[in-house]
Symmetry: C2
Subunit: 134 residues, 2 copies
């Protein structure tokens, strides 16, 4: 946890907190311009990378090659369609993974910042489509 963040890292982190949703680097770059806080795209990527290593934000990879970033505040689990890529967040009363996470922490070998839990399959519309092709 670095004590001091650079100017652009702060800018990125603030906007990320403000938006309070998962967002790609590219989209964040656009949002920054809108907010008159323009940063170079490379700088956005570098800031996100640094914040990730500081445990300030978390990342989730999409099958289209994008990465979505968000502040580490709560667990976000997803159901993602293998066909159309739609990703639906699951709000579970309580995360079934925390116990395991605590166990892993106690081994001391690995410093855990966050986790991702994702279910893959077919959403309703794509199920229909898929079966008609079978």
């Amino acid at each position: 946890m670095k004590s001091q963040l650079t100017r652009s890292q702060n800018t990125v982190l603030k906007l990320l907190k403000q938006l309070n949703r998962e967002i790609s680097a590219q989209e964040l770059y656009i949002e920054l311009r809108k907010a008159k806080l323009s940063l170079g795209l490379a700088t956005v990527y570098r800031a996100l990378e640094a914040l990730k290593l500081n445990a300030a934000i978390q990342a989730r990879l999409l099958s289209n090659g994008e990465t979505l970033y968000s502040t580490t505040q709560q667990d976000r689990h997803h159901m993602t369609c293998l066909q159309c890529g739609t990703s639906i967040p699951i709000q579970d009363e309580e995360c079934p993974v925390h116990e395991l996470e605590d166990q892993l922490r106690q081994t001391g070998k690995f410093e855990i910042y966050y986790h991702t839990l994702e279910f893959f399959g077919l959403c309703s519309p794509c199920q229909v489509e898929q079966h008609s092709n079978a």
Copy 2:
């Protein structure tokens, strides 16, 4: 679940079963050549895509942009280092997610094929390195 697979889909699936490990499309392409079962790289990608939609295999995305494929046989959970990218499989006696997965199945809205559970943070070597930069 398509009844009939193409020749190349069969070839890919067989080798995947035989290798019994997570493997990237590129590496699989090389393994196929070694096994005298050469397929075009595009064909490998297309076969993997089709097998994924048939629930025959599962995929896991890496932060370097690669996708790792494996047959759907057992849950594989991982701890992945944000810095060096090392990914350690966790063998847990029992998967803490199945109950939630069953609940989600019962909603009927989404047909679940498999899930991924991944913990992100720093491995021991990278913890040291990270702290010395802080």
